[in-house]
């Protein structure tokens, strides 16, 4: 009973906060609500025995990405944002499309059959610790994707600098 209650609380808060995030008029308020949302998602990861993922959710998402969003919001002048309308004119069409896809997906989830279980059972992870098991897999079987991820980050660093740099007039 307690796990269901726990999940119910987290699911309700996550859905409520998602709706709040996309409907706020002031983007700074949206970012603040999103911070709370990410902490709740991290709590859900802890509930699923993924403590390393919960930690990087808080560190990378809440600590880095949202701060980046906040910096950019403070750079832009959003004074008139509080007076204009929030949604495009055709928002009922968007609501209809998303609701239709949601109904289809929820219907499809009902008939999902999980495959055979792997070797990383809770006892195995408890014995080996979660971070160690994850790191072993990441640095052996998934070493090549890991290197590609570092390349993606390098491209992002260079790209962000090139894009956001003020153009200097050529003489």
């Amino acid at each position: 009973m307690l796990p269901e209650l726990f999940f119910g609380y987290f699911a309700a808060v996550i859905i409520l906060l998602s709706v709040i995030v996309i409907t706020r008029r002031n983007p700074v308020h949206s970012v603040m609500w999103m911070l709370l949302l990410f902490f709740h998602i991290a709590g859900l990861y802890l509930f699923l025995n993924a403590e390393f993922i919960a930690a990087i959710q808080v560190i990378v998402y809440a600590g880095a990405i949202l701060v980046l969003f906040l910096f950019v919001l403070l750079l832009l002048n959003l004074r008139e944002e509080l007076k204009v309308k929030r949604f495009v004119g055709a928002w009922p069409a968007g609501l209809f499309i998303t609701t239709a896809i949601l109904v289809i997906v929820l219907g499809a989830v009902k008939s999902f059959v999980p495959g055979p279980a792997g070797k990383y059972s809770i006892e195995f992870i408890k014995q080996e610790t979660h971070t160690k098991a994850l790191g072993k897999l990441l640095y052996t079987d998934y070493l090549f994707p890991f290197e590609i991820a570092s390349l993606v980050l390098l491209v992002a660093i260079i790209g962000a600098i090139v894009l956001a740099k003020r153009k200097t007039r050529s003489k």
């Binding site: 796990p3 269901e4 999940f7 699911a11 996550i14 859905i15 998602s18 709706v19 995030v21 996309i22 983007p27 949206s30 999103m34 949302l37 990410f38 998602i41 990861y45 699923l48 025995n49 993924a50 993922i53 959710q57 998402y61 990405i65 969003f69 950019v72 750079l75 832009l76 204009v84 929030r86 949604f87 495009v88 928002w91 968007g94 609501l95 998303t98 896809i101 949601l102 997906v105 009902k110 999902f112 999980p114 055979p116 792997g118 070797k119 990383y120 098991a133 994850l134 990441l138 994707p145 991820a149 993606v152 980050l153 992002a156 660093i157 790209g159 600098i161 090139v162 894009l163 956001a164």
Partner: protein, 100 residues
């Protein structure tokens, strides 16, 4: 024991809220936050799969998704800054030079 389907349904609902925000908001920054919302919904379902199928590969994928999300946020916000510098607006329905 919470069934796996509950997590998948939660993930689908959050993903569709993100899609709705992306399709209908005028502010390009909120559209970016909707993309982050969608990525988080996928992460929830991947971690749930990883736990219930007792396989770590879902969590490896989550790490890569978070990496790509960080890169995407950096590039996207740089584009927004360049756009705001040139057009002086963050509303996507006022950017119609290409008549697309």
């Amino acid at each position: 024991m919470v069934p796996l389907n509950w997590y998948l349904m939660l993930s689908a609902v959050v993903f569709m809220i993100g899609v709705f925000g992306f399709l209908t908001r005028r502010n390009i920054i909120i559209m970016f936050m909707s993309i982050e919302l969608m990525l988080n919904a996928v992460n929830i379902s991947l971690v749930a799969f990883s736990h219930y199928l007792q396989d770590m590969r879902g969590q490896i994928l989550v790490i890569f998704i978070i990496t790509v999300a960080a890169a995407e946020a950096a590039i996207g916000l740089a584009i927004i800054i360049a756009l705001f510098r040139n057009k002086d607006t963050v509303h996507v329905d006022e950017m119609n030079e290409m008549k697309g």
